[in-house]
Symmetry: C2
Subunit: 205 residues, 2 copies
DNA sequence: TAGATTGTTAATCGATTAACAATC
DNA sequence: TAGATTGTTAATCGATTAACAATC
């Protein structure tokens, strides 16, 4: 029986399960078990079963899980059984790399618009997309009902840009600027700062 | 009294505290409190005090914390009161962006060598660095006693490259490939996969 | 001093693990 | 059937919070 309240930490592990299942499927593996999956991911089998049990029953006793089926169920649960349009704000080196990255589309996301506040960049094309002025952000977001933004601007501009996003109707922000954004409680924000990841390891060296 | 066993989850928050303290210092703020810091970071004041108490006593009752002093203590604890040489493997769009990124140096890291298995890229320069052949990885790592690697190669090559890193003597890996690496227990690995971060949010949309 | 804030303890809360009946 | 593995419960483990004496 799926429980009503699902811990964030459980939801946070599902994308990792999904990624592993997609790889298994790509390898042609059709059935797996909580033990096999756990071994691959460095997670206990009990935890995987417990996590999944929040959302339903996906396996068979004695057999395990059908890889394709479980993958599809996780896509549904995470709502990536569709394609989310995403705006990318900040087209420096990192923004360009993200704009070129081909790994978003088959995992549920597509960058559909690029923005930068540098008038020299506005009008340039990257692939099929033209870099647009920040002044047009709100209109684009509203017209296309976009809910997800990636922010790849310098730290000094990130807070302001995040607020512009919220004002435009963006609901989820992936922030690449090395700064903690101050946004209303309940706002969906994820941070990617490579240096904090490196610093998490050096303590142990 | 600092306790002997410090939870990973506590160490994981210290880089975020450090980043905030560095920003406070840059703003010219000299003193802060666990409440102020917690408000900025969306973390409870009690948790910040508890986390810090694992490592010593850094504050003054009635006053709070000296920003510069606490920042320096966190740098020491995280061992980023020095400059770690880092190798970057994989010079595609993302690798190039990382190679150009100026934000590593003043936070404890410097990319000192670039590697790629594409012979067309080997010999090219990016800034002051020349892209080197993967065959020279082990020699460079050993000669310069490098312990940290960033991997920005396609998913299909990441596992093999990670093993080459381990064999060469690398102790900590920051992996940008969208795959969970299988490495010996206790190996220091951090993953950055923007799609998993996005997928953590869409469930709630 | 009076007010504020630390460091720490104890209580609470939540997450992980172990174990096992159910069953494929 | 015999062996294997699920989903779930209860026990354990660990992390967070609340509270407060100490003290700047």
């Amino acid at each position: 029986m799926p429980s009503k309240q699902i811990p964030d930490i459980v939801v946070g592990r599902l994308p990792v399960y999904l990624r592993a299942l997609s790889h298994l499927a790509a390898e042609g593996i059709q059935v797996t078990s909580s033990h096999e999956l756990g071994k691959r991911l460095g997670i206990s089998a009990a935890q995987i079963r417990k996590d999944l049990s929040h959302f339903g029953e996906f396996g068979k006793q004695g057999t395990g899980y059908n890889v394709g089926y479980l993958r599809d169920q996780l896509k549904r649960i995470l709502k990536v059984d569709r394609e989310w349009p995403v705006v990318l704000i900040g087209v420096g080196d990192l923004g360009r790399a993200l704009a070129h990255y081909g790994g978003f589309v088959d995992r549920g996301f597509r960058i559909v618009a690029l923005f930068d506040n540098d008038s020299n960049k506005v009008g340039q094309r990257i692939g099929e997309l033209e870099i647009m002025s920040m002044e047009t952000l709100a209109d684009v977001v509203r017209e296309r009902s976009i809910q997800v933004a990636m922010i790849a601007v310098p730290a000094a501009h990130a807070q302001k840009v995040a607020e512009q996003c919220m004002a435009a109707g963006i609901k989820a922000i992936l922030n690449y600027a090395p700064i903690t954004l101050s946004l209303p409680d309940g706002t969906l924000v994820q941070h990617i700062d490579p240096v904090t990841h490196l610093q998490r390891m050096t303590h142990y060296l």
